[in-house]
């Protein structure tokens, strides 16, 4: 009777040891994974699913990186502050040049980069539907907004006139010059970062942020007309 008891006690103890180790190990593991997956400021390639779906779909193979002709894309390594193994780009270093055939998304074997979202009604690929992020202007440091004649970002934009345009204003300091203030329309901006790449200030004064981070949400109950950014310039002044 005593023998049986001891064996059973030993079994229970061993089981509890195993369960404890598994639970503690699992908690640390889950903690690391959860922490590593939080990277709010990461810019993904064209066609990327929403971030949480993307992280559950991307197999971290790097085919998008290999097939990118401009060496824009990189795979996150340990220490990069990017969920490890996932593709991203830094537009200030190399922006996305918006290839018409979108080779990165076409290479994706899992659908984490989804060509469906980049296809128009006729079934043609349309890279302008990419929403990698949105350009945001720091008007305190943009030299155009401070009166210098610069339109580097506007000229760099492949969707000039839609995604970004110049808002000409009178320069109140001199009283006779124009200011060429760049304005971004988030409804058209792809987040390719050509503007950020082209910006001439020491640290870019127009930069791409993930749309989740940069954009607000008005809410369904506002029934308002679409935003109108076009500057009202009287015909005779053009």
């Amino acid at each position: 009777m005593h023998e049986v008891d001891k064996t059973r006690r030993r079994m229970i103890f061993r089981t509890l040891q195993g369960v404890t180790l598994t639970a503690v190990g699992g908690a640390f593991w889950a903690g690391f994974v959860h922490e590593n997956a939080q990277a709010e400021l990461v810019l993904r390639p064209p066609g990327a699913l929403p971030e949480d779906e993307f992280l559950a779909t991307c197999i971290r193979c790097g085919l998008c990186v290999s097939d990118c002709p401009y060496d824009t894309l990189r795979l996150g390594a340990y220490g990069d502050d990017v969920p490890v193994g996932t593709p991203y780009f830094k537009p200030r270093e190399v922006p996305c040049y918006l290839c018409e055939d979108i080779p990165c998304a076409a290479a994706c074997p899992t659908g984490a980069l989804d060509l469906l979202g980049l296809t128009d009604e006729e079934g043609e690929l349309d890279v302008s539907r990419s929403r990698m992020g949105v350009a945001v202007v720091d008007y305190n440091n943009c030299i155009a907004a401070r009166g210098l004649r610069c339109d580097a970002c506007v000229r760099a934009c492949p969707y000039i006139g839609d995604a970004i345009f110049v808002d000409t204003r009178r320069n109140p300091r001199t009283g006779k010059h124009a200011m060429l203030v760049p304005v971004v329309d988030a409804d058209y901006c792809t987040g390719c970062g050509l503007c950020e790449h082209a910006c001439v200030t020491e640290k870019a004064s127009i930069l791409v942020l993930p749309r989740d981070v940069a954009l607000g949400k008005a809410g369904e109950h506002y029934d308002l007309p679409a935003p109108n950014f076009s500057p009202e310039v009287p015909e005779n002044e053009i």
């Binding site: 994974v33 779906e53 559950a56 197999i59 290999s66 390594a77 990069d80 193994g85």
Partner: protein
């Protein structure tokens, strides 16, 4: 000279082939990203062979499916190809493809060279890997993330070679030191959930090591060379094949055997 070549062939033919394949795959991955080679593009998580054939790590795919990823057919086909291949040839990924095997075998080589015969720092059960595998699956489901892919030294090594290592070398160094000083065959033989996964899928493999008892002199060379020596439980006892699916089919035992008592058996048999 001829006998020298003969010796190398007899004792190292599989080892040379394995190292060639392991390093060749890494070179192809590196060349694909660095110089635009198209033979094998990607990394060990998923790749594209000859510009067309998709290949994918079935355990990575399983994690993504558990995480709720709506995967495209291409990667599912790739995982199926790899799964079927290793179901037929056994757990050969570990000894013929995996770059971590280079590191752990190096640790074992150093260990032997320096004559470390100390008892292990801790005792690990070889079945721990199945617990780790179960944790991978459960945590992937709970976190909606492929949890092993965040920490896998296998992915870190192949991805690191192809796309940049970052701090990944620290993980690989840790495994080297763990195998060298803490537990012999520690990572591959006790912890790795991918090895556990391929052990489970190798039950009906068609390639096995075959043993002929009558030729065996019980010298023990095979046991010393084997990374999973418990699979050699038939040595000197009876004729037959190594049926434990934890055998990685590295064939080190076959080439170190001086008694013609171990062979590669291609027909294989259904394990009982």
């Amino acid at each position: 000279m001829k006998s020298r070549l003969r010796y190398v062939y007899d004792h190292y033919r599989f080892l040379i082939l394995r190292r060639t394949l392991q390093l060749g795959i890494l070179l192809l991955f590196f060349g694909a990203n660095a110089w635009g080679w198209s033979l094998l593009v990607g990394d060990l998580s998923s790749s594209r062979l000859l510009g067309k054939v998709p290949l994918a790590d079935p355990l990575a795919v399983l994690q993504l499916l558990l995480a709720g990823g709506a995967l495209a057919g291409q990667v599912l086909v790739g995982a199926l190809i790899v799964l079927v291949a290793y179901a037929l040839i056994g757990r050969a990924f570990c000894s013929w493809v995996c770059p971590v095997n280079l590191i752990t075998d190096l640790a074992e080589w150093v260990r032997n060279r320096l004559g470390f015969r100390e008892p292990p720092l801790m005792y690990l059960n070889r079945n721990l890997r199945y617990v780790v595998l179960a944790m991978v699956l459960v945590l992937s489901l709970l976190l909606s993330l492929p949890v092993f892919e965040f920490v896998s030294p296998i992915a870190a090594a192949s991805r690191g070679v192809a796309f940049g290592m970052g701090m990944g070398w620290a993980l690989l160094l840790a495994i080297f030191l763990f195998d060298l000083f803490v537990v012999r065959h520690g990572y591959c033989g006790h912890i790795c959930p991918l090895g556990a996964f391929y052990s489970l899928t190798s039950r009906f493999r068609r390639v096995r090591v075959r043993h002929e008892k009558d030729s065996c002199t019980l010298c023990g060379l095979c046991f010393n060379a084997c990374p999973e020596p418990h699979v050699l439980n038939l040595i000197g006892k009876h004729d037959g094949t190594v049926n434990n699916p934890e055998c990685t089919n590295c064939f080190r035992c076959v080439e170190v055997c001086d008694d013609d008592a171990l062979f590669v058996s291609l027909s294989g048999g259904w394990s009982k």
